[in-house]
Symmetry: C2
Subunit: 348 residues, 2 copies
């Protein structure tokens, strides 16, 4: 039973702290976890020893005892590198200088047993919580799964799919409506729309925004002015080719994300069209590429990093800050960034 608790080159443990401070482990534990029932003197003394020894609690041991890790998971199946990385940056910013770490977990949306796969992941790693990125965040079964196994979660999305505590959303519909209005104000009346993939809530919301704007402006457009895309460059290029084959062809095209907008621009170039003189283009996301192409792309700035940061805060802040419960907003506004890819339509 003789505790062998001297320092031997490895990190100090809670035992070392207890011995040096002449208190029990439990007291040290209380100090660490900020228990309210503690003599101020002892607390100070213990804290001093902790500092002296450079003690930091062993996360593995805590994880075992608490049956919960201090790991935040990022579950995603998003094909866009910029978006994924921005989300990571947002989360990392939120957990910087905390005990949390970020574990990334891409999943195959095609896989039949994807949900089972995620369950395994969550249960085995006993994550503190997960951030669910779109589009997989739109999957209600996944949220239900998290609830079942008692894993905190926050869903990111383009509409309020869950209660505020479990959701950070952007107002894609309104944002697109404003963007289309802007196009109409510029004089455009034949506006093409490149949609996102079927089944994506973001794709739906953006399209609804498009339709609402048209309706409010009493503009009737043929169905052919809507071309399907799937958020990739190539799909944007293809969709634009279909759109530009139309007669009369659109004088402006809204693409549901920047990558597709870049494809639209490419399609225009291949035809020798001048953007924005012959064709105006608007994108969505405001990824770096938007300002790096020529002409710089007018686009909707999607505050995805901020949303991710807020998501991580929602997950963790109630712990870090006691019961202060800083209210993180659950709705984030996208705004139109006007650059060089929009001009009035050419005269016929």
């Amino acid at each position: 039973m003789a505790a062998k608790n001297r320092e031997n080159g490895s990190q100090p443990t809670i035992n070392d702290v207890a011995r040096v401070a002449s208190v029990s482990k439990k007291t040290v534990s209380r100090v660490i976890n900020g228990s309210p029932l503690l003599n101020d003197d002892t607390r100070k003394r213990v804290q001093e020893v902790i500092k002296d020894l450079g003690y930091v609690p062993n996360p593995q041991a805590r994880a075992l005892a608490l049956r919960r890790n201090f790991l935040i998971g990022l579950v995603h199946d998003n094909p866009n590198a910029q978006t994924v990385l921005k989300v990571q940056q947002g989360i990392l910013e939120a957990i910087r200088d905390t005990e949390f770490e970020l574990v990334v977990r891409p999943v195959d949306r095609g896989m039949v047993n994807m949900l089972e796969d995620i369950r395994q992941f969550l249960e085995r790693q006993r994550l503190f919580g997960v951030v669910l990125m779109p589009p997989i965040s739109e999957n209600d079964s996944l949220a239900e799964l998290c609830r079942q196994i008692g894993c905190r979660y926050v869903r990111m999305g383009s509409a309020e799919l869950d209660q505020p505590g479990n959701m950070v959303a952007s107002n894609d519909r309104e944002a697109v409506r404003d963007a289309i209005r802007y196009l109409i104000e510029q004089g455009h009346s034949r506006i093409g729309f490149v949609s996102g993939p079927h089944g994506f809530r973001s794709a739906l919301e953006r399209r609804l925004g498009f339709e609402e704007a048209l309706e409010q402006a009493d503009l009737k457009l043929p169905r052919s002015m809507i071309a399907d895309g799937n958020y990739t460059f190539d799909s944007g290029l293809l969709a634009a080719e279909r759109l530009l084959d139309l007669s009369p062809r659109p004088t402006a095209i809204f693409a549901s994300n920047d990558e597709m907008a870049t494809g639209v621009l490419q399609a225009a170039r291949r035809r020798g069209m001048d953007v924005p003189k012959d064709l105006s283009i608007v994108g969505f996301d405001d990824t770096p590429i938007a300002s790096h192409i020529w002409p710089p792309l007018t686009t909707v700035r999607w505050p995805i990093a901020t949303m991710a940061r807020s998501a991580a805060l929602k997950l963790t802040v109630s712990v870090t800050e006691g019961e202060q419960e800083v209210d993180e907003p659950s709705m984030f506004l996208s705004t139109l960034i006007r650059r060089g890819s929009v001009a009035p339509p050419p005269r016929d």
Copy 2:
């Protein structure tokens, strides 16, 4: 002392397996860890029970007992989103369907106590190993730190900075030399060079490749044909403006990465120059943007994802595959991808 080892809705533990299989915990542990000294019968029996019960070892408990986590860390300070994500994908591919998970850890290169920060991270989380991305991977002190605290590591880089077991490298110098040669073959003799940031090994290697190619072709260029960049779009744009202000100006520009090459293209456009008719451009990386801009960028394909995958394999495979020690290569070849941004120089 009565073991309360019935299933109560939570996952089965090693005790459950032991009880059902009528063996001791240790025997089960031996089966899990593939101990050689085991009766084949018992092993089979235990494995069956494991399967029946759906038992999976608890990573937290293992981490505590082994004093090592089954977590792979990615330490990086790379500003390029595409590159970072490709590396993540490579690592994730390597550890897919294993017990490993990926923890990402960006660091501030500017921070004075960055090394101390990383040490804390490695020691506290007791990572199984880390993948070091460039440019921080070029920091020898960091490698030394890993060795000191006994954390496996693999460095990714543009030259062999470490022994093969701890290194995956690309042949940037040769690759750039070939690219410049190609430009020379096309008839260019005034070739501008946009460098990477000082202190980056990749920047140095690429520049050496440039100089070697010139030397071998007996081409002497004024110093002003080399402009400093720092791997960002804006720095590429600025560097190109300096280069294009020269008289006579270069007929081709090699940029040390794609993002800067995109900046060069932007600068050319702003002057109304036609690429590639008036100016040829070559980049480095082959990020998606290279094929999404117009004209598609001729660039050097840097197999960074493959390198990352190999790095993770080096870290983990000796464990997964017993002592088989599948030899992962430590040198990866970059190749020139010819697209539309290069043409013979304009006649004077």
